[in-house]
C-alpha cells in the first residue's frame, strides 16, 4: 500500500474511534456514596512527616495509633477492626490537596489531621465534596470559616486560647505593655488576629506588632524593635521551633519581658529549642497542660510511654481524643459514612483528655483552656 493510502487509512480509523468514544459516556466513575460493606474501617491520618513541623506529625500519629490499638484490643468497632494509614502532606497545602484526592478515591471513611491549619483549609473543599469527615488539630479560626459540615476541631480555636491568655495577663496580672511577634503563616496570622482582638476588647493596644516569615531563622531586626519599646509581655504567635528560636534570641538580646503564647509553647520541642533557662517563666495557654493533671491523663501518659517509649504531650493527647471521637461516632452510628457520620460526630459527647467535648455548629468541641507557667522545665498550672 502506498504511503498516501496508509495515511488515509490511519486517519479515518482514528476519526472513527474518536467518534465512537464521544458517543460512549465520559470516563470516570460516577460519584456515589460508597457503602462500605464490612471489613476494617479505614481512617487516614494526614500530617507532615518531613520538615520542621514533622515532630507534630509524629506525635499525632502516635496518639491516634494508641487510640486505635486500644479499641482494636477490645474488639474494634462493633466487631470490625480499625485500620489507620499515615499520609505525609509535607506541610505543603498543595500536597495536602493531592492527599485529599487520594483519600477520597481509596475508600477512607474519615480523616485525622492535619496539625497545620493552612494545609487543613486547603484540603477541606475536597473532603467536603467527597463527604469525608475530618477532625483536625489545627486551631486557626479559618477552618471554621470554611463552614464545612465535615470539619471538626479536636481542640479549641485560637480565639479561645488567646482570650484566656489575655484575661490572665491583662485582667489578672495587670500587664498592659504587650508586644506581639508572629509569623505570617495561617496559624501565626490566626494567633495574631485573635490575640489583638482579645486585647482590644480590654482596651489594650500592643506597643509593637512584628511579623516574621515562617522559615525565618534570624529575628534580630524584629526583636531589636521590640526591645526598644520595653514591653512587659512578649506574645509569640509561631509554631514550636520558630517560637523557641524567637525566645532564645530575645533573651540573647536582653529582652526580659514575660513570654506568653498558646499551645506550641507547651511542647518539649519549644523547651529544647529555646533552652530551659530561656523558657523559664513562659506563660502558656493550653487545654492539656501536663500528663499529671488527672487520672485520665496519667493513664494516657503511661500507655503512651509504654507503646512509644517517650513522654506524651498536647498533640498526642489531641489526636488521641480526636481518634476516640471518630471511633465513638462510628460505633454510635453503626458504621455510617458521609453525612451521617458527620452528624454522628457532631452529636458525640466525649470526656476527653482535653476536657469535655460538645460540638457546635462550627465544629468546635472544646471551648476553654487553662493557663500554665513553665518552671524548671515543667509546665505547671498557674496559681489563679
Amino acid at each position: 500500500m502506498s504511503t498516501q493510502r496508509t495515511k488515509q487509512l490511519v486517519l479515518s480509523a482514528a476519526a472513527l474511534m474518536l467518534a465512537a468514544s464521544t458517543a460512549c459516556s465520559a470516563p470516570g466513575s460516577t460519584s456515589e456514596d460508597q457503602q462500605d460493606a464490612g471489613g476494617p474501617f479505614k481512617i487516614a491520618v494526614v500530617n507532615a512527616q518531613s520538615g520542621q513541623l514533622s515532630s507534630l506529625g509524629q506525635w499525632e500519629w502516635k496518639g491516634a495509633k494508641l487510640a486505635a490499638d486500644q479499641w482494636n484490643a477490645k474488639g474494634g468497632i462493633n466487631g470490625r477492626k480499625i485500620e489507620l494509614e499515615l499520609f505525609d502532606d509535607q506541610g505543603d497545602p498543595t500536597v495536602g490537596t493531592n492527599v485529599a484526592r487520594k483519600i477520597a478515591s481509596e475508600g477512607f471513611v474519615a480523616m485525622i489531621g492535619t496539625a497545620e491549619s493552612a494545609v487543613t483549609v486547603a484540603m477541606i473543599p475536597i473532603l467536603q465534596q467527597s463527604k469525608i469527615p475530618n477532625i483536625t488539630s489545627g486551631q486557626s479560626p479559618a477552618i471554621a470559616a470554611t463552614k464545612s459540615p465535615f470539619a471538626f476541631y479536636n481542640g479549641p480555636t485560637s480565639n479561645t486560647y488567646d482570650e484566656t491568655l489575655a484575661k490572665y495577663l491583662v485582667d489578672d496580672k495587670g500587664l498592659k505593655k504587650i508586644a506581639l511577634i508572629s509569623n505570617n503563616g495561617s496559624y501565626g496570622k490566626g494567633e495574631r488576629d485573635a490575640f489583638t482582638k482579645a486585647l482590644a476588647s480590654r482596651g489594650v493596644t500592643p506597643v509593637d506588632d512584628q511579623v516574621v516569615t515562617t522559615d525565618q531563622k534570624d529575628f534580630s531586626a524584629a526583636l531589636t524593635s521590640i526591645r526598644q519599646k520595653e514591653p512587659d509581655v512578649l506574645f509569640v504567635g509561631s509554631e514550636e521551633v520558630e517560637a523557641g528560636l524567637i525566645v532564645k534570641q530575645a533573651k540573647e538580646l536582653g529582652i526580659n519581658a514575660t513570654i506568653a503564647g498558646a499551645a506550641p509553647m507547651g511542647t518539649p520541642v519549644y523547651l529544647q529549642t529555646a533552652g530551659e533557662a530561656n523558657a523559664e517563666g513562659t506563660v502558656v495557654s493550653s487545654p492539656y497542660l501536663s500528663n499529671d493533671t488527672d487520672d485520665a491523663s496519667k493513664a494516657f501518659a503511661k500507655a503512651y510511654q509504654k507503646a512509644h517509649g517517650e513522654a506524651a504531650e498536647l498533640h498526642g493527647a489531641k489526636a488521641h481524643d480526636g481518634a476516640n471521637i471518630i471511633f465513638t461516632a462510628l460505633k454510635n452510628s453503626k458504621g455510617a459514612t458521609g453525612q451521617k457520620l458527620a452528624d454522628a460526630i457532631r452529636a458525640t459527647k466525649y470526656a476527653g483528655l482535653l476536657g469535655d467535648f460538645t460540638f457546635d455548629e462550627s465544629g468546635v468541641g472544646i471551648h476553654a483552656t487553662s493557663i500554665g507557667v513553665i518552671s524548671s522545665g515543667k509546665l505547671t498550672e498557674s496559681a489563679k
Partner: protein, 597 residues
C-alpha cells in the same frame, strides 16, 4: 518520517483513551504530569535548544497561575480573560528575566535567574494580594461550552489538546530556522553572530518562549487544582523540573516530555517513602549526569551508534573536489576594506598601534607577522568582536567598527576562525543551513501566524544547502557531526559556512593551519575561485609559500604596528620584515627565490 507519523498516531490514540483506564486519583496524577510536561518543554527550549540557563521557569509558572487566581477571585474577570492576561504577564516577566541574559551567561546567569525565582517566591509568600502563605483558593471552574471541567477526566482532554498543539509548535520551532539559530547560539555564540544570527534577540526569544510555555502550564494548573499556594512554585520544584529536563535529555523536546512524565509518575509512586525516595532520586540524578549526559532521549542514538559500529566496517564518505562557482551573479568584484589608524589597548597591553591599510575590491590580501603581532586582534576588530580604542575601519565606505557581528554579517562580511568554531552539536548540513538563512528576525512573525511560509523557506534553504555542499565537495558528510570529521574537512566546512552567508568580504584566519601539502593546494584553488566569484579575501597566514603564491598584496604586522605593505616580492626582501618575522640569522635566499621565479 513515516514511522514517526505512525508512532505519533498510535501514541495519540493511546493518550485519547487513557482516562478510561484510570481511577479518579490516577487521572489527577496524569493531569499534573501534563502540566509539568509543558513546563519541561518550555525549559528545554530555553536551555536545551537556546543554551540559556533558566532557573526561573518555576517563577513563570507561578506568575501565570497567580495572575489567573488574582484576576478571577479578586478582580472578577472571567477565567479565559484572566488566562490571556496571565500569558501576557508571564511573557513580560520572561522579558524581564531575559535582560540579565544579555549581559552574562553560564553560572552567573544561573544565580541571577535563581535569585529572581527566590524573589518571586518571597513576594508571593508575604504579599496580601496573593493570600500570603495560605494562597488563593476558589478559582472558578473554566467555562467551556457547557462542559463541566471540574471533572478531571474532561479536563484531561482540554489539557491533551493544548499540550498537543504546544508540543507541535515547540518541535516546529526547534527543527526550523529559529530553532537552528538558537542551537547555533548555544554551540558557539561568537560564530553564530558571525554568520548573522542576532544573539541578543535570540537570547530574549529563548526566555520569552520559556515563559509562554510556563504561562500556559500555569493557566492549566490554575484551572485544574483551582488553588494556588507558594510551595508549588518553590526552588525544590525548580530543581525537580531541571532534573526532568536533564534526565529526559534537554536538547530533545520529546526527551523533556519523557523526563517530565517519568519523574512525575515516579514522584507519585514514591510519595509515601519521601526520605528514601529523595535519596534514590539524588543517586539516579548523579548517575544520569555522569553516565548519560544526553539523557534518556540520547540513549537510542547511543545504542544505534554502538550497533552500527559493530555492523559496518568503513565509512565510505569521501571529500569530493571543490567545484568552482560560475561567474558572479551581480557582476560585483567584492568590497573594499579601509582601515585607518586603528589602535587597541587591553588594560596595559597595546595590541595594535595606529594600524592603517586599505584593501582594494577583488584583491586577495595577506596579513602576516610573528605570533603576538596583533593579526587576529585586527580581524576581531573588523568583524565586530572587539571594540577599538582609536581609529576606524570601513567596508565600501560603511563604517564597521562599533557594530555587532551579526550586523556586519548582513553588510556582507564573513570570516573563519583561527581555532575552528563550528557548531559542534549540529550536523554539517545544519551548520550550512544556519549561515544560508538570511531572514531577519522580524520574519519570525510567520511562526505563529503563517507556518507554511516557514516550511516553504525551509525547503528552499535545503535545496541551496545541497548545492553549496556539493560545490565544496561535502555532500557525503551532510549528516555527520563536525567533530567526528578529519581536520582538513572541518576547515573546508568552515569556509563553506562562511561563503553561505553570501559575503562580499571574507576574512580567513590561518586557513592553512594543520593542512598538509595537498590540502593547501586545494585551499589555494578555493580561495582563488572565491575571489573570482566576486569576493574580496583577506587572510592571515603563517604558511609563507601559500601567502606568496596566492596573495596580490601582503601587509606585515609586528608588535602591533604595520612594518611593510606591498606585493609579496617587495615585502619578502625588506630587511625589517626579515628581521621581525624570520630573525636575522635566517637564510632568506629561499624565500626570495620562491617569490621571484
Amino acid at each position: 518520517m513515516r514511522y514517526r507519523i505512525g508512532a505519533f498516531a498510535v501514541l495519540g490514540i493511546a493518550a485519547w483513551f487513557l482516562p478510561y483506564g484510570l481511577g479518579p486519583y490516577g487521572i489527577h496524577v496524569v493531569d499534573i504530569a501534563v502540566v509539568f510536561a509543558l513546563l519541561a518543554v518550555g525549559l528545554g527550549l530555553a536551555m536545551g535548544v537556546g543554551g540559556q540557563i533558566n532557573l526561573a521557569q518555576v517563577a513563570f509558572f507561578g506568575v501565570s497561575s497567580y495572575a489567573v487566581a488574582i484576576l478571577t477571585t479578586r478582580a472578577g474577570f472571567g477565567f479565559w480573560t484572566s488566562a490571556v492576561l496571565a500569558l501576557v504577564a508571564a511573557a513580560l516577566v520572561g522579558v524581564f528575566v531575559g535582560i540579565p541574559a544579555l549581559r552574562m551567561q553560564s553560572h552567573y546567569l544561573g544565580i541571577v535567574t535563581l535569585g529572581l525565582a527566590l524573589a518571586f517566591t518571597n513576594w508571593v509568600t508575604n504579599s496580601t494580594i496573593t493570600g500570603g502563605a495560605d494562597g488563593i483558593s476558589g478559582i472558578p471552574i473554566p467555562p467551556l461550552f457547557g462542559i463541566d471541567l471540574s471533572s478531571e477526566y474532561l479536563y484531561y482532554y482540554v489539557e491533551l489538546i493544548v499540550f498537543g498543539l504546544a508540543l507541535g509548535f515547540a518541535g516546529f520551532v526547534a527543527h526550523t530556522g529559529l530553532g537552528r539559530r538558537m542551537r547555533a547560539m548555544r554551540d558557539d555564540s561568537l560564530a553564530a553572530g558571525a554568520v548573522g544570527a542576532p544573539v541578543p534577540v535570540l537570547r530574549m526569544t529563548a526566555f520569552v518562549l520559556a515563559s509562554l510555555y510556563g504561562g500556559v502550564a500555569g493557566v492549566l494548573y490554575a484551572g485544574l487544582v483551582r488553588y494556588v499556594a507558594p510551595e508549588t512554585f518553590s526552588i525544590a520544584n525548580m530543581f525537580l523540573l531541571l532534573a526532568m529536563v536533564i534526565i529526559g535529555g534537554r536538547q530533545s523536546i520529546l526527551g523533556c516530555v519523557v523526563g517530565a512524565v517519568a519523574l512525575s509518575l515516579l514522584r507519585e509512586v514514591l510519595i509515601d517513602f519521601s526520605v528514601y525516595a529523595q535519596l534514590g532520586f539524588g543517586v539516579v540524578v548523579v548517575l544520569m549526569v555522569v553516565l548519560a549526559p544526553t539523557g534518556l532521549a540520547g540513549i537510542p542514538a547511543r545504542i544505534t551508534r554502538v550497533v552500527r559500529r559493530r555492523r559496518t566496517a568503513e565509512h565510505h564518505a569521501t571529500l569530493r573536489p571543490f567545484a568552482p562557482a560560475s561567474a558572479p551573479t551581480d557582476g560585483g568584484t567584492g568590497a573594499g576594506l579601509a582601515i585607518s589608524g586603528i589602535s587597541k589597548q587591553f588594560r596595559g597591553l597595546k595590541a595594535l598601534q595606529d594600524v592603517s591599510m586599505s584593501v582594494a575590491p577583488g584583491e586577495i590580501r595577506g596579513v602576516v607577522g610573528p605570533n603576538g603581532s596583533g593579526k587576529t586582534t585586527l580581524f576581531n576588530i573588523v568583524s565586530g568582536i572587539y571594540t577599538v580604542s582609536a581609529g576606524s575601519a570601513s567596508v565600501d565606505g560603511t563604517v564597521v567598527t562599533g557594530r555587532r557581528p551579526h550586523q556586519l554579517s548582513r553588510l556582507g562580511l564573513a570570516r573563519t576562525f583561527q581555532n575552528l568554531r563550528l557548531f559542534g552539536q549540529m550536523t554539517v548540513l545544519d551548520n550550512v543551513l544556519v549561515a544560508l538563512d538570511r531572514s531577519s528576525m522580524w520574519a519570525a512573525w510567520r511562526y505563529p501566524l503563517w507556518p507554511f511560509g516557514i516550511l516553504r523557506a525551509e525547503r528552499d534553504l535545503r535545496v541551496r544547502a545541497g548545492r553549496l555542499l556539493d560545490q565544496f565537495g561535502l555532500t557525503d558528510f551532510a549528516d555527520a557531526a563536525p567533530k567526528s570529521l578529519p581536520y582538513g574537512i572541518q576547515r573546508r566546512l568552515e569556509i563553506a559556512r562562511a561563503m553561505a552567508t553570501g559575503p562580499r568580504l571574507l576574512l580567513l584566519d590561518e586557513p592553512a593551519a594543520g593542512l598538509n601539502g595537498e590540502e593547501v593546494g586545494q585551499l589555494s584553488e578555493i580561495v582563488r575561485s572565491i575571489r573570482d566569484s566576486g569576493v574580496t579575501v583577506v587572510l592571515i597566514e603563517h604558511n609563507m609559500g601559500l601567502v606568496m603564491s596566492l596573495c596580490d598584496r601582503v601587509t606585515v604586522l609586528a608588535s602591533g604596528g604595520v612594518i611593510a605593505d606591498g606585493t609579496p616580492a617587495e615585502v619578502a626582501v625588506l630587511p625589517k620584515v626579515i628581521e621581525a618575522y624570520l630573525g636575522d640569522s635566517m637564510n632568506t635566499n629561499d624565500i626570495a627565490a620562491e617569490v621571484s621565479p
